[in-house]
Amino acid sequence: MNYLVIVIGAILVNNIVLMQFLGICPFLGVSKKVSTGIGMTGAVAFVMILATIVTYLIQNYVLEKFGLGFLQTIAFILVIASLVQMVEIILKKVSPPLYQALGIFLPLITTNCAILGVAILTVQNEFNLLEGVIFSTSHAIGFGLALIIFAGIREHLDLQDVPKGLKGTPIALITAGILAMAFMGFSGLV
């Protein structure tokens, strides 16, 4: 399969947040400021790529080998949960500045469905390891792109005179809807 197709498909056409509705919680939750958006993107990218690699290996060398495909969900979520813990501990020891930047986002990531979603999609699409890494990296970039654009819009939105009833979540959702419409323009690219 063409790598470029995977990249463009994942970042623009099937944008993980706006088209596939994965990772909506952080998308709505930590998008009030661009700077936190960037931090969250970093943490998600880090864990997403690692998780995809580890779950890929587990799926192909453990679950499938022993006919335990039905344990997929449980195995993957455990891997992700322990991975997040490990990353947290290692970062704290190895790189305190990075830990400071990403630390507060890490606990939120276990229940970020984008991570588990991408891990499962990688297996479903029968990618090899390299394609899987490219796929998850592109999805992380797509997540970051949507989150940062959205945070930028919301920073401006704060200064606008929004009708009372729409303040807060409603206007954020409607903005996301319009952003999703813009991203629909990319469909058919690949």
């Binding site: 498909g9 056409v13 039905f70 344990l71 449980i74 455990l78 469909s187 058919g188």
Partner: protein
Amino acid sequence: MLNLNVLEDSKMAKRESSFTNMVVTLVLVTGIAAAALGFVYDFTKGPIEVAKLKAQTEAIKTVLPEFDELGESMVLSPGEGQDSLEFFPAYKNGELVGTAIKTYTKSGFSGFISIMAGIDKDGNFSGYSVLEHAETPGLGSKMDVWFSNPEKPNQYVIGKNPETTKFSVSKDGGDIDAITASTISSRAFLDALNRAYSTYKDNKTTGDSGQ
């Protein structure tokens, strides 16, 4: 009013978070979970197989003329480097009435589309059923009815074959009208049918040449 909260206060002390306790608990919880799932998996394995087979048989039934027996399926390659197609020959009273072909295209508006296409014994398409697609709802997704509407002969593919009819959209000089506003999905659909037909043809000639 029922009040079940009486038990509330008799809360037992939580188990201590010692290392052994934690490990034992997690191993126990995971073990029980895996065992329970193994049991459910065993129980549902049969029905899942049956459901899959039923969906496939149903699709084959809708695309072929009446038959009473399905032959053994064959896996045939449409060409170098392409994923292979599955062929299901169908018989009535021991005679071949048609072949259902599980074909695909990767050039849909949203990528992969899987179609079950039927070819009758005269080599014409006898029907099709879209098994899997991610085309835009209301536009490309209309392909499941668009090409099988007998009132619109210019978009009807049943009873035709790529030898006598040009199986490409009219915009590209073909004989089939594309779905309104969904040329890409229509091209992809015809691509899948062409793939099925050419593979069918290739294997038929090689099969017949021995006689």
